[in-house]
């Protein structure tokens, strides 16, 4: 099982190359995968990193209105 999990990024990269339109979907899977494996509350470091990722959206072009 750990070998399969370790190979996931390579497999996902291959899928992205085969179907370029789905790169956003694959990014979503990569973002959600750790959620499935979460077995406890976030550490203070993870909490801080998550809040920083929210703050970064302030300057993210995809988050800017028309």
């Amino acid at each position: 099982m750990p070998a399969i999990i370790a190979a996931l990024p390579v497999i996902i990269d291959l899928i992205a190359r085969l179907a370029p339109g789905f790169q956003h979907l694959i990014t979503w899977v990569m973002a959600v995968r750790p959620v499935l494996q979460q077995d406890g509350a976030w550490t203070p470091e993870l909490q801080e990193a998550f809040l920083q990722s929210l703050i970064k959206t302030k300057t993210d072009p995809a988050y800017q209105p028309d």
């Binding site: 099982m1 399969i4 999990i5 996931l8 497999i11 996902i12 899928i15 085969l18 179907a19 339109g21 789905f22 956003h24 979907l25 694959i26 990014t27 979503w28 899977v29 973002a31 959600v32 995968r33 750790p34 959620v35 499935l36 494996q37 979460q38 077995d39 406890g40 509350a41 976030w42 998550f50 809040l51 990722s53 929210l54 703050i55 959206t57 302030k58 072009p61 995809a62 988050y63 800017q64 209105p65 028309d66």
Partner: protein, 140 residues
């Protein structure tokens, strides 16, 4: 369309292979659930906003409801008293604030569950739009 079906199956298998972890003893399931919803919502909002941003003109013309939803997610909102964040991030930050208050026992679990349901419903709507537009996109 075949590519989409194949990719969907592969994605589902990858999620299944990853598996779900059990909570460690002593962890509050409500806090963990709130964090899972926050992380999932962040990923889902990133997904739809990036899809829309990749060709805003196309989506504005061909899927105006989707583009309007994305614009709604982008509207600036005040959080943490003095900060301004896009609504997508502000909703997540709001749940995080309520979660912190719950952890420090300043709020009851009902308030946390209410905030969680609000974010979950927005995230589910975004997920629904992602499903719709990736299907349409596959047929372009």
């Amino acid at each position: 369309m075949k590519k989409f079906a194949l990719s969907s199956i592969v994605v589902a298998v990858l999620v299944w292979v990853s598996g779900c972890a059990q909570l460690r003893p002593g962890q509050d399931p409500l806090v963990v659930r709130a964090e899972q919803v926050e992380a999932t919502a962040k990923g889902t909002f990133d997904l739809v906003l990036n899809i829309d941003h990749s060709d805003r003109g196309f989506w504005r013309t061909n899927a105006p409801a989707f583009h309007s939803f994305c614009e709604w997610l982008r509207q600036p909102q005040i959080v943490w008293v003095t900060n301004v964040l896009p609504r997508a991030s502000a909703m997540i930050a709001n749940l995080d604030n309520v979660k912190q208050d719950y952890v420090w026992a300043r709020q009851g679990s009902n308030v946390l569950i209410t905030a969680l349901v609000v974010l979950q419903s927005a995230s589910t709507e975004a997920g629904g739009w992602a499903q719709v537009v990736t299907n349409n996109n596959a047929n372009r």
